[in-house]
Amino acid sequence: MSIVGKNIPHDSAKGHVTGESIYIDDIPVMKNELHVDYVGSPYAHGKLKSIDLSAAQAIPGVVALYTHKDLHHNRLGPIIQDEPLLVEDEAMFVGQPIVVIAAETRAALAKAKKAVKIEMEELVPTLTINEARERKEFLDREYAVRRGQVETQFAAAKHTLEGTLVVGGADHFYLESQACLAVPGELDQLVLHSSTQAPSEVQHTAAHMLGLMQSQVVCITKRMGGGFGGKESQATHAGVMAALVAHKTKRPARVIYIKDDDMKYTGKRHPFQNDYKVAFDDNGVITALRINYFADGGAYNDLSIAVLGRAITHSDNAYFIENAELVGRICRTNLPPNTAFRGFGGPQGVITIENIMEEIATYLHKDSFDVRRANVYGLDDRNTTPYGQLVQNNNLPKLFDELLVTSDWKKRQQEVREFNSKSKTHVKGLSITGIKFGISFTNTMLNQANALVNVYVDGTVQVSTGATEMGQGVNTNIKMLVADELGIDPDWVIVMPTSTEKNNNTSATAASSATDLNGSAAVNACVKIRSNLADIASRYFASREAGIGAYPDGIKFENGLVFDERRPDNKMSFKDIVGMAYRARLSLGERGHYATRGIEFDWTAGKGSPFLYFTMGCAVTEVTIDRFTGDLKVDGVDVLMDVGKPINTGITRGQLTGAFIQGLGWMTNEELKYTDKGHLLNYSPTTYKIPNIQDMPARFNVNWIDSYNTPNVRGTKAVGEPPLVLAISAFTAVKNALSYVSGNEIPCISTPCTNEAILARLCYYESLNSGSAPAVNGRGGSRDAAVVTGGNGDSDAPAVTGGDGEKAAANVTGNGGDTNAAAIVKGLDGNQGTAAEQKGAVRVDYFNAAGMPVPAVKHGALRPLSESVARAYSGAKLRTGGPTAAGAGGKKS
């Protein structure tokens, strides 16, 4: 009986539920171990003048302080090595490390952090995509995919729409922050225990920066407490800092970022700002599409090039675009370098076309399902992507048609319409979006893996691959594949910690492809072992009486037994065959290598077939909005996917539900708010709100179709990232809901769709309908704040506490209440506001195009909204055109 396709528990589950699973901070403290942390730049952009370490050095327990001068080489980066680990002269983002500190106790470390004196000159930071565009601050070159005649089609089109979509970033919010324990060995060797998706990256970066040979450094990853892309390239920083201290002091050294620092100083999902123009016919079939992507790359390249590339190659999503011009640039801003995050640019590409689909439907007064269905890739024609890859094994039409029925789309759409015509308090929206997610690294070189399979004489097996376990279940999948290959119980197979000692030159666990690549490599190793075993087994089963000779190809491995298929009643246990092979001095440990064949992509041409296959799906989402508060509730979600043949149905389902809800957070509540100095304001779960258990949709149907046609190991499909993209259906459902109240306008909204953002739109549309001023203050509205004598916030407003001599918490009795306490002791965090703020006056720094003032808060003003956010708020800038589009812009036909 094959174990593949079954639902067995995650291989770490028992350790997880008992608290026995070990993460970096759980490894017992070693003798002599040092705690390591760093002091970073206080400015988003600043010139380093001087560093004074004398006071810090004098603190008892402080062992070492290092600057860039202590590194052999001070540049890192997964694609282009342009990022200094430690600032040399110019700091490019808040918190960019400058001084690494090692101390014997946490207390000494904390004191030393405060005692390091850094003198810097503050320079003007670039904090928005628009500022970067104005200042021509770009990373790398322009990337493009082009097909057909876009301008000609625009000129000839019956309808065109253009606009800008602003897509917010997001924090990974993996629960275990970046962490590394470095243990020095003999002869300058190092062992790094890192919470990373890319042990080889940490290994070679540490070796390079310390001037060691790669062979001197081993990186081990047992597991991560979540990764989601955030530990693909950015685990290197903690890794190298720990390695530096261990290498220099010859003492074990551990770096554990606290959550606040991790959120403040590490890269996030790329915010995008996408200008688009689309031409379409009366049925909503797109005839031409132009998208100009602008990704906020942060201060350094990191993985931005690849992220932008995936956005561009996912511009089409599930839809055939005959004429396309898809161009993108990476804006350099003074924020931590943005990095991989589940979906890797794909979601930012997909949301653009799904936003367009929704707008076409609203513009044409058509059912948004019909518009999308009319554009879906065909089976025999209309089936090549703009970059020229043939969409094979296309299940998209089947998925859309099936979900139309199972989600009860038509009936629910009618119900939504009726509800909206009656309700005075709420407005509902319903939408469907699709996904066609390309599987394989777009950088062809990375599509390889190796695995080591060791069989022990008791018949048990250890497997080691380059895949890293971050909860997604790759180890369980590999364990099942290996068990199946050897015909043994999966309990006999243990997947070992990932180590560069056993698996060299590994690709990051990323692109949803860890099981595809490493599972295939493990299978290849098993094939070799099986061949050795079959060789000896065939000789054993050869029988003169039965008249059969040794026939290795006829040896079967099933249920822990080995037999010749021609005489299945004569069986021997796997263990006994292994013992026999050992005694015969045959190899019982083999390495397998796997490389994906037939995939290539050329960015100079913008053409190729970069993906081995596509994971496909679609989702219907229904939302309800409170008209008075903007509160958004996701009532129902129906997901239907083609994930091939799952290796483990439970793990596959967990990836589907988990990814979708993570995407929902990105679309709804997760908003990164910065000051105008580039400091992140919401750097902990108190203010950064990922989905809570209560945010689960009341109706949450997650299913997949039977699909047997994938050219991948055991016909499985990668599933880590694609379902996240389907949460875009919540965004388009909000647009659909707003279309019921937006009068003649096509509704616009940026992501995330927070209650605040939604309410601003509702107020705006109400003002259009009533002809009165919007409830949201316009320019010159009543923002005179002279009468206010205090703040209204909690801890984020110590600036408003005034100059009284309030004693530290002395008059606080009891202490229950909500967890986010105000700073009872004033000014502890050194963030006293200006005098004006203390009096409670609002300093208005910026008005957006809709006349909304963006006033001052704690650290200064909020980062000005970019121009296109303002455009989205104004709602009036969607231009329609074409020969027959009459009247003023932005109107529904």
Binding site: S12, A13, H16, V17, T18, G19, Y23, D26, H172, F173, L175, G226, K259, D260, S423, K424, G471, T624, T629, T657, G658, I661, N669, E671, L681, P685, T686, T687, K689, I690, N692, I693, D695, N755, L759, C763, A775, N777, V788, G790, N792, D794, S795, D796, V800, A808, N811, V812, T813, G814, N815, G816, G817, D818, A821, I824, P853, V854, P855, K858
Partner: protein
């Protein structure tokens, strides 16, 4: 006087003295005892990865509750029994909750899992199945970034109770009870490296100590103070823990002028209040349901929510609207302060240095009063409000007779909107009146922008909430609840 904290952890006795009395519980568990199953992520009670069960003596038995150990300090734990994820196995085997979490794929990366498991074991302690809604309510305080929660709810529904053993059976209480009863008779005092902890056993002792040490930081649930200690550099020199004070943990009620008035003791937790009030007032029940999380509500107190003096605290708008009174005790006895007079400025209280809140007198709405409470936050659960409102009207034959309106999140303190109240009285209860009231409310306030919401958002809410109130009460447009 005793100079050590006495507690049990997973059934084993611990005596903690000196500097360690002042460390967070999670540091003690993880770095001192090596019990690393309890994880720290946010260190501010917002993720639940550090959830442990705390057992205390209540009415002669040990009662266990889930709390966030990252915002508990050892000084709060005298005479308690802490049960961590490591202490949950039954006879060396996974317990039924753990089994269900394994089978249902309730764990992916595993970092949040111990917190979920402890919270689940706590809510299933009675050995009875719960509905999906009840399971969600019990897990509001636990964040998971991997699963999308569905497998966790499924695990909750799949628990097999045939072999369930409650905590009380895993850890026989006999010895603990005997020892705790004895220790709870006398105060505890620890001095170490310039820090001082006092754990009194009478209110008089507490007030006397406070009068002698004006810099005293009083700690009960610690859900606010501990966050300040973890994150905002608060280093109290003198701490007074109320954990061993008897007589402040009860809720009583009396009738006054035909109105029920609750008398809520100074140590009554928000969870106790929630359980008590759920049959009396739907609105307050709702507010307490969305207040923090079970872990926060089990630790935090009503008195603490008041004393923390946040203008966006969730319980005070109700107290402002109902003209509640705060009873405080000091060395010279007790007095009552009107809720509306209790805050004298941003984070300033009308309390003398020796005084502490011992009781809250909380009148409840009459049957013929229309009352709604509103909390607008980015996320419905476990989030701090951007805006709060409490509106109470008495309408007779279409005319508004009395009106009480309180807003939070629009100024340095919670406001009674007196101009709006005056406007409303005598008017017809109509949408038009409510719209006008909303506009007036908007013109009366001038909120600031912060990370939870812009000034304009708050202004729009201040105006809109009255129309919402009208539709929800007069027209019963409760289409979506």
């Amino acid at each position: 006087m005793r100079d050590y904290i006495f507690l049990y952890i997973n059934g084993r006795e611990h005596k903690v003295s000196g500097e360690q009395a002042f460390v967070p519980v999670t540091d003690y568990l993880r770095y001192e005892l090596g019990l690393c199953g309890t994880k720290v992520v946010c260190a501010e009670g917002d993720c639940g990865a550090c959830t442990v069960m705390i057992g205390r003596l209540e009415n002669g038995t040990m009662v266990y509750k889930p709390i966030n150990s990252c915002i508990q300090y050892l000084c709060q734990l005298d005479c308690s029994h802490l049960v961590t994820v490591e202490g949950l196995k039954q006879n060396g085997k996974l317990n039924p909750v753990q089994e269900a979490m394994v089978e249902c794929h309730g764990a992916q990366c595993g970092y949040c899992t111990p917190g979920f498991v402890v919270a689940m074991c706590s809510m299933f302690d009675e050995g009875k199945p719960l509905t999906a809604c009840q399971i969600k309510d019990g897990l509001t305080g636990n964040l998971c970034r991997c699963t999308g929660y569905e497998p966790i709810v499924a695990a909750g529904l799949a628990v097999d109770f045939a072999e369930w053993e409650p905590i009380s059976k895993l850890y026989p209480a006999e010895n603990m009870l005997k020892q705790f009863k004895e220790y709870l008779q006398k105060p505890l005092h620890i001095k170490s490296e310039g820090k001082e902890l006092f754990v009194p056993v009478t209110v008089n002792e507490a007030c006397k100590f406070k009068s002698e040490h004006p810099q005293t930081v009083l700690i009960t649930g610690g859900t606010d103070i501990a966050v300040n200690m973890n994150k905002r550099g608060l280093v109290p020199e003198v701490l007074l823990s109320t954990s061993n004070l008897p007589g402040l943990s009860a809720i009583d009620s009396r009738e006054e002028n035909g109105r029920t008035v609750l008398e809520v003791g100074g140590r009554v937790t928000l969870k106790q209040l929630e359980d008590y009030i759920s049959k009396l007032n739907e609105e307050m029940k709702y507010i307490l349901w969305v207040f923090g999380s079970p872990q926060i509500r089990h630790a935090g107190t009503l008195a603490g929510n008041i004393a923390n003096a946040s203008p966006i605290a969730d319980t005070p708008p109700f107290l402002f609207m109902m003209d509640a009174e705060i009873e405080v005790s000091g060395v010279n006895g007790s007095r009552k302060i009107k809720m509306t007079d209790f805050y004298t400025g941003y984070k300033k209280l009308a309390l003398q240095p020796d005084e502490m809140i011992t009781k809250i007198h909380m009148p409840l709405p009459l049957k013929d009063e229309i009352v709604r409470l509103y909390k607008v936050s980015r996320r419905q659960h476990l989030d701090i409000s951007a805006f709060t409102a409490a509106i109470r009207l008495k309408v007779d034959q279409g005319k508004i007779k009395t009106a009480a309106v309180a807003y939070g999140g629009v100024a340095a303190v919670i406001l009674r909107m007196t101009a709006v109240e005056e406007f409303l009285i005598g008017k017809e209860f109509s949408l038009e009146t409510c719209r006008e009231a909303g506009k007036l409310a908007r013109s009366e306030i001038s909120p600031l922008s912060d990370v939870r919401g812009s000034r304009d958002f708050r202004l729009a809410l201040a105006e809109n909430i009255f129309s919402k109130f009208y539709h929800e009460t007069a027209e019963r447009q409760l289409v979506c609840q």
